[in-house]
């Protein structure tokens, strides 16, 4: 079977415009989640992780006119450009597919004067604009599977390469903070009263975040300028078949997918990058599912305390940081976690650990009862 490798990545969040810059800030224990008072986003102040607008415009204006592109597009283009530039691959042919992972795309346009039928509201249109900019020949694919979108995009891309349809898949996950999304999560009473605290005893909700992440998959071993050795293992998705918004009390879907991934993987992971939103029910659901899958003792973290829940971008951004962990043999703590607060105990990582990291399990869960899990390992 064809091997699939992750050969390049980039992430743009409140903590920086590259995976390395994000990692440095994380190592220093910094969070990008802040209390924001902005009437255009919410009537009440709230905790959120925002990409620095001046820096975004400044960086973007070095290549293109920021007036011609939306905030969403600016972030996505910068992230894709950085990841593409770090490889030697020629992406112009028909053997490259571009996948955009997002929940809401340019949803902020809905509240602007451009009207209800702005073509920018259509996700395929947004993907096409990005794809055209990079001259990807094949019509792009958009995956919109709520908060599992990013991870599911990587799983889908790796399957298409293995099946022989493509040699390279460029995956970008982007979501921005908008009044639309903030008001919705607020109506769900799921926003935290401080920066989110995944798996902590005092956790009381999630913090939203925005960002863009890019991961490039290829079957070509010599594709990167750097030495690389991260292989994409098996990944699956599955549904709770229980409720469209509430996490399953038995962790059914997440258990099924992690169990299936582990049965198809060569060894136990050295750590698990969990979804870990910081809501009461999500985190407990994950603990139940991981315990059922026999993974309760594996070191586990959540990255959401650093840059919040980036929704459709989360799977890509967080997977890129998993790759960084593996390449640099370092495990990051769960920012915001202080004392265990789960009925089913997990081995939550609470400090920076330098250790051999050869394999990783990444999971995600979202509205609609969807769950995804993917295994990465070094060759």
């Amino acid at each position: 079977m064809t091997d699939v490798f992750i050969v390049s990545d980039n992430i743009i969040t409140s903590l920086g415009f590259s995976t390395g810059e994000n990692a440095s800030n994380m190592t220093a224990g910094i969070t990008g989640i802040r209390l924001i008072s902005d009437e255009s986003l919410s009537p009440d102040p709230f905790y959120v992780s925002l990409v620095d607008t001046d820096r975004l415009r400044g960086t973007f204006s070095q290549i293109l006119d920021p007036e011609e592109f939306t905030r969403f597009e600016q972030m996505a283009i910068l992230s894709i450009k950085a990841a593409v530039a770090a490889t030697k691959i020629d992406f112009s042919g028909e053997r490259t597919l571009f996948i955009l992972s997002t929940t809401k795309g340019n949803i902020d346009l809905l509240g602007k004067n451009t009207g209800k039928n702005d073509p920018g509201l259509y996700l395929w249109h947004t993907a096409k604009r990005l794809g055209d900019f990079f001259r990807f020949r094949i019509n792009p694919l958009v995956i919109s599977n709520a908060c599992t979108s990013g991870l599911q995009a990587v799983i889908t891309g790796s399957r298409l390469i293995r099946a022989g349809y493509y040699d390279n898949v460029v995956i970008n996950g982007t979501d921005i903070i908008s009044e639309f999304v903030v008001s919705g999560f607020s109506s769900f009473k799921s926003l935290s009263t401080g920066p989110c605290r995944p798996f902590d005893s005092t956790r009381d909700g999630l913090s939203l975040g925005e960002g863009s992440g890019t991961i490039i998959l290829t079957n070509n071993k010599g594709a990167s300028k750097q030495t690389f050795r991260i292989r994409v293992g098996m990944g699956f998705s599955g549904n709770d078949a229980n409720h469209i918004s509430g996490p399953s009390r038995t962790g059914e879907g997440l258990f099924l997918v992690t169990d299936r991934v582990m049965k198809n993987s060569p060894s136990m992971p050295d750590f698990i990058s969990a979804h870990g939103t910081g809501t009461l029910y999500n985190d407990e659901m994950e603990a139940i599912a991981l315990t059922r899958a026999g993974l309760q003792n594996i070191p586990v973290n959540s990255f959401k305390g650093y840059w919040g829940h980036t929704l459709g971008a989360a799977g890509v951004i967080e997977l890129a940081m998993c790759v960084h962990s593996m390449n640099n043999n370092v495990l990051f703590p769960t920012k915001g976690f202080r004392e265990p607060g789960l009925e089913n105990k997990l081995n939550v990582i609470d400090r920076v650990i330098k250790t051999e990291v050869n394999a990783c399990l990444k999971t995600a869960s979202g509205f609609g009862g969807c769950n995804s899990a993917l295994y990465l390992f070094k060759t």
């Binding site: 009537p43 929940t103 809401k104 795309g105 949803i107 809905l110 509240g111 209800k116 509201l121 259509y122 996700l123 395929w124 249109h125 993907a127 096409k128 019509n139 694919l141 958009v142 995956i143 919109s144 599977n145 709520a146 599911q152 889908t156 399957r159 298409l160 293995r162 099946a163 349809y165 009044e179 639309f180 008001s183 919705g184 607020s186 109506s187 769900f188 699956f236 998705s237 599955g238 549904n239 709770d240 078949a241 229980n242 409720h243 469209i244 918004s245 059914e252 879907g253 099924l256 299936r260 979202g366 509205f367 609609g368 009862g369 969807c370």
Partner: protein, 212 residues
């Protein structure tokens, strides 16, 4: 010989519904919402949660009932070996606009969780999974128009790798009054039974282009 076959399909558009090429229901002169309610009553599904769904989910639910019900009895495909792979071109934009209305005016700022939860296209996968206790693969793709080659390639890939043994697949479009659904049940079976249709892009295209 083991092969992949389309063992059932349906079309819903222009206030009409057909199953396996045969018209089964129509209700002209109704708006989309009323038509969905009438079709729901016709199907006798006894599932009050239907009324809480947004139009995209109603369309997906009704389509799945149409292809899974044979002689009034719903075939049960519970478990993780059934996948639900859907696509459209407008995501959940129809409901996105409804949510936007609830937040446009600060003096009447009442975002509704029952509306917001439907502002994701994959919720319809969840609704179909809950109804049928399906716990298998699910994905929602957004494409400019139905792409039979991609859908067939991807679903074949899932079947070939034995990730699933059958798949509910379709195109579910709701954008204002633009309502258009095509849904198929694809199964891996050992022997072709007469009347079963080969699972190929050209067949998917033909089904989608059927006139009711």
């Amino acid at each position: 010989m083991t092969g992949y076959y389309i063992t059932g399909y349906c079309i819903i558009r222009n206030n009409e519904a057909s199953v396996n090429g045969k018209p089964v229901f129509s209700a002209h002169g109704k708006n989309t919402r009323e038509f969905f309610t009438d079709l729901y009553k016709f199907l006798d599904s006894d599932y009050p949660k239907f009324h809480k769904m947004d139009n995209l989910c109603k369309l997906g639910f009704l389509s799945s009932e149409l292809i899974l019900k044979k002689n009034g009895v719903r075939t049960i495909f519970s478990g993780s070996d059934t996948g639900v792979i859907l696509a459209n071109s407008s995501s959940s934009l129809d409901t996105d606009r409804m949510h936007q209305v609830t937040i446009i005016n600060r003096a009447a700022y009442f975002p509704s969780p029952a509306v917001f939860v439907y502002t994701l296209p994959n919720i319809v996968i969840g609704e179909i999974c809950i109804r049928n206790k399906i716990t298998g693969e699910g994905s929602f793709f957004i494409q400019e128009k139905l792409n039979p080659v991609f859908l067939t390639d991807y679903i074949r890939c899932l079947l070939d790798c034995e990730i699933i043994n059958r798949c509910i697949a379709g195109w579910l479009q709701v954008d204002g009054d633009d309502c258009d659904a095509m849904m198929c049940l694809i199964e891996k079976t050992d022997k072709p039974i007469s009347g079963f249709v080969n699972f190929e892009p050209s067949v998917i295209r033909d089904i989608y282009n059927l006139r009711i």
